[in-house]
C-alpha cells in the first residue's frame, strides 16, 4: 500500500478578537461540520482517528483531552491530544495513516485566547520554576533578548524587521480571515510603542479566537474524496534546549533541524525550488530568523531579501502571503492552522485575489512561541512526483 497522505478537507470559524456567543466546543463543532463537508465525507463515522492540539493552562482545564471528542463526532473513537501546534498535529495524523491502521484521521486546534485573562502570567509559569520563574518578569522579554542577539550577529536592521510588519499586514488586506490587516509604513512600525526593546508593539502579533479542523486521508481514499488533494510530502520537527541558559540564541535550531528533515523526506534538494512559504512571524524578526534557519537565505541575508521585495507576493520567495500571524492574529496552538489553510487554498487554486501564479509546492513552519524552542516544518505539493 502507498504511504502517501493528503489533506482532503478543511473547516474553520471566522477568526475574531472575541467570540462571546459560543463556547469552544460550539466553535469546534462548526469547524468540524464544515471540514467533513469540505472533505465530502458521507458521515463522521467514516473517520478512523482524531488528534487534538492543546495545552492545559491555556484552556484552563487539566487533561484537556477529556473535552475533545463530542464536538468532533469522535465519541468512542481513537482520540488523543498532543501539546503541539496544529502542524505537529498534522504530522502525527500523517504517521497514523502511514502505519496503515487508519485511512482517515482528523486534526483539530483552536484558540479561545479571549477567555484567558492572564496569558503572560501563565506563560511565565512555563519557565523553569527554580531558576527563571522567580525573577517574575513578563517572559516576552525573551523576544527582546533574542531579537537583539539576532540583529547584532546578522547585522539585520530595525528597518528591515519593520518591513516584515508592513508586508504581512498588507498581505492580510487581501485575506478575509485576517483580524489585523493594515496599510502601514516602516516609520509607523518603528515609532510604535516599545514593549520589550528592541521589540515594539506593532512587531508583536496580537491574539485572536478561532477553530480549525483538517481531514487527512491515505492516497486511495484521498483520490476518491477529493479532486484536489494537498499532499504532505515532507515532515520535520525538533526541539532545541528549553533551558534559557543553554539554548542557541543565534539561529532557530529547531527550524533548521526540522527543515532539514522535511526536505530530505520530500526529496527537495534545493529549498528555493519551493513556490511559497508560510512561516511563523509572531515577532517580526522571527520571520527573517526562520527564513535563514531553514536555509532559504544565508545568515544576515533575509532582511536584504525583504527590502529587495523577494518575500512579496510577486517576489522570488513569497512569504506569508496569508498575512501571517502579524496580519491574521496569533491563534495559540492553532497558529499553524492559518499557514496550513493558506497552503491548501493556494494549492487548490482557491485563494481568490491573493492567488499566486505559481503555487504547486509550499513549506510551512510553526514555532510554539515563548518560552519554547520547538517547531515543525511541513512541505506540501499539488501533485505526487
Amino acid at each position: 500500500m502507498s504511504k502517501n497522505v493528503a489533506i482532503v478537507g478543511v473547516g474553520f470559524t471566522q477568526p475574531q478578537l472575541k467570540t462571546v456567543q459560543v463556547s469552544y466546543k460550539e466553535m469546534v463543532y462548526e469547524a468540524a461540520v464544515k471540514a467533513y463537508d469540505n472533505a465530502h465525507l458521507a458521515s463522521h463515522k467514516d473517520i478512523d482517528g482524531f488528534v487534538g492540539c492543546a495545552e492545559d493552562l491555556i484552556e484552563g482545564t487539566s487533561i484537556f483531552d477529556e473535552y475533545t471528542p463530542d464536538q468532533l463526532g469522535a465519541v468512542q473513537k481513537p482520540v488523543h491530544t498532543i501539546s503541539g501546534d496544529l502542524l505537529h498535529g498534522l504530522l502525527v495524523a500523517t504517521m497514523k495513516i502511514k502505519t496503515g491502521i487508519m485511512d482517515i484521521v482528523v486534526v483539530e486546534a483552536h484558540s479561545k485566547a479571549s477567555n484567558l485573562k492572564t496569558y503572560y502570567h501563565v506563560t511565565n509559569y512555563a519557565l523553569d520554576p527554580t531558576w527563571n520563574r522567580p525573577l517574575n518578569v513578563n517572559p516576552y522579554y525573551l523576544a527582546g533578548l533574542e531579537k537583539n542577539y539576532f540583529m547584532h550577529h546578522t547585522k539585520t536592521t530595525l528597518e528591515q524587521i519593520a518591513g516584515v510588519v508592513v508586508k504581512n499586514k498588507k498581505n492580510a488586506l487581501q485575506n478575509d480571515l485576517a483580524v489585523f490587516p493594515e496599510q502601514t509604513t516602516v516609520e509607523k512600525v518603528l515609532q510604535s510603542k516599545p514593549n520589550f526593546t528592541p521589540q515594539t508593539e506593532a512587531e508583536t502579533a496580537k491574539q485572536a479566537d478561532g477553530a480549525f479542523v483538517f481531514v487527512l486521508a491515505n492516497e486511495e481514499t484521498a483520490k476518491k474524496l477529493s479532486k484536489k488533494p494537498v499532499w504532505i510530502t515532507g515532515m520535520g520537527w525538533a526541539s532545541d534546549s528549553p533551558t534559557l541558559e543553554t539554548r542557541n540564541w543565534d539561529e532557530a535550531l529547531y527550524a533548521k533541524t526540522s527543515a532539514h528533515m522535511a526536505l530530505k523526506q520530500a526529496h527537495i534538494k534545493n529549498i528555493k525550488e519551493i513556490d511559497f512559504f508560510e512561516i511563523d512571524d509572531r515577532f517580526a524578526y522571527k520571520e527573517l530568523q526562520h527564513l535563514e534557519s531553514i536555509g532559504l537565505y544565508g545568515k544576515g541575508k533575509a532582511g536584504q531579501a525583504l527590502q529587495n521585495g523577494d518575500l512579496n507576493k510577486d517576489g522570488k520567495t513569497p512569504t506569508n502571503v496569508s498575512g501571517g500571524m502579524l496580519g491574521c492574529g496569533s491563534l495559540l496552538e492553532a497558529a499553524g492552522a492559518i499557514r496550513a489553510l493558506e497552503v491548501v487554498k493556494q494549492l487548490r487554486g482557491e485563494a481568490g485575489q491573493r492567488q499566486l501564479s505559481k503555487a504547486n509546492t509550499a513549506l510551512a513552519l510553526s514555532w510554539r512561541g515563548i518560552p519554547t524552542t520547538s517547531g515543525a516544518v511541513l512541505t506540501f505539493s499539488r501533485s505526487l512526483s
Binding site: 456567543q21 463556547s23 463543532y29 484552563g60 520554576p129
Partner: protein, 165 residues
C-alpha cells in the same frame, strides 16, 4: 532492572528540620469562559428555577446537560425541552475528604442525578442534602432545592442541592 534504582526519598524529618529547599509558585491563571449557546441557556434556566434539556430529533433522545449539537449523530436537529425539577439518584458517594485532602466529619454527598423527562435516564453531577447519609441509596427519588430567586446568579450552584422527595 533493579540495579541502581534512582530516586531520593524526602523524609518528614528533613522538612521539620528545614533542610529542604523549595521555590514557591502560583500560576495566577484567570479565565472568563464563554458558556455558549447550550450551557449558557441551561444556566439562565437555573436562574429562573427551571432545568432545561435538549431532544435530538434524529436520535430521539432527551438529554441534560443540554447541547446545541448532538454528539452522536453530529446534527443540529435539536429541540429544547423543559424538564422536571425532580429525579433519581443514579449513583452517589459519601465523601469524607475535601478537595485539599483535609478530612471532614459530615460527608459531602455527591451524586449523579437522572433528571425526570430524559431518555435514556441521564443527568448531571450535583449534591444531596437534608438526608441521613446512611439512608441514601441508588434509585432514591429526589427534588432540586433552588436558592432564593434573588440569590441566583445563573450558575450550577443556583440549585443548592437535591433532597429526598
Amino acid at each position: 532492572m533493579h540495579k541502581d534504582l534512582r530516586g531520593t526519598h524526602l523524609s518528614k524529618k528533613a522538612f521539620d528540620n528545614n533542610e529542604i529547599s523549595t521555590t514557591l509558585g502560583d500560576p495566577h491563571a484567570y479565565y472568563e469562559w464563554d458558556t455558549g449557546m447550550g450551557i449558557g441557556r441551561f444556566l439562565q434556566g437555573l436562574k429562573e428555577g427551571r432545568i432545561w434539556g435538549t431532544h435530538c430529533d434524529t436520535c430521539k433522545r432527551t438529554v441534560t446537560p443540554p447541547r446545541v449539537f448532538c454528539e452522536l449523530c453530529f446534527s443540529k436537529n435539536i429541540t429544547w425541552r423543559e424538564l422536571k425539577t425532580t429525579g433519581t439518584v443514579n449513583t452517589f458517594s459519601l465523601c469524607y475528604v475535601n478537595w485539599d485532602a483535609t478530612l471532614i466529619k459530615e460527608p459531602h454527598i455527591s451524586a449523579v442525578i437522572e433528571v425526570d423527562g430524559t431518555s435514556p435516564r441521564v443527568g448531571f453531577l450535583h449534591l444531596l442534602n437534608e438526608v441521613d447519609p446512611q439512608k441514601v441509596c441508588i434509585g432514591m427519588k429526589v427534588e432540586a432545592v433552588f436558592k432564593d430567586e434573588k440569590e441566583r446568579m445563573g450558575d450550577i450552584t443556583d440549585i443548592k442541592y437535591w433532597r429526598p422527595l
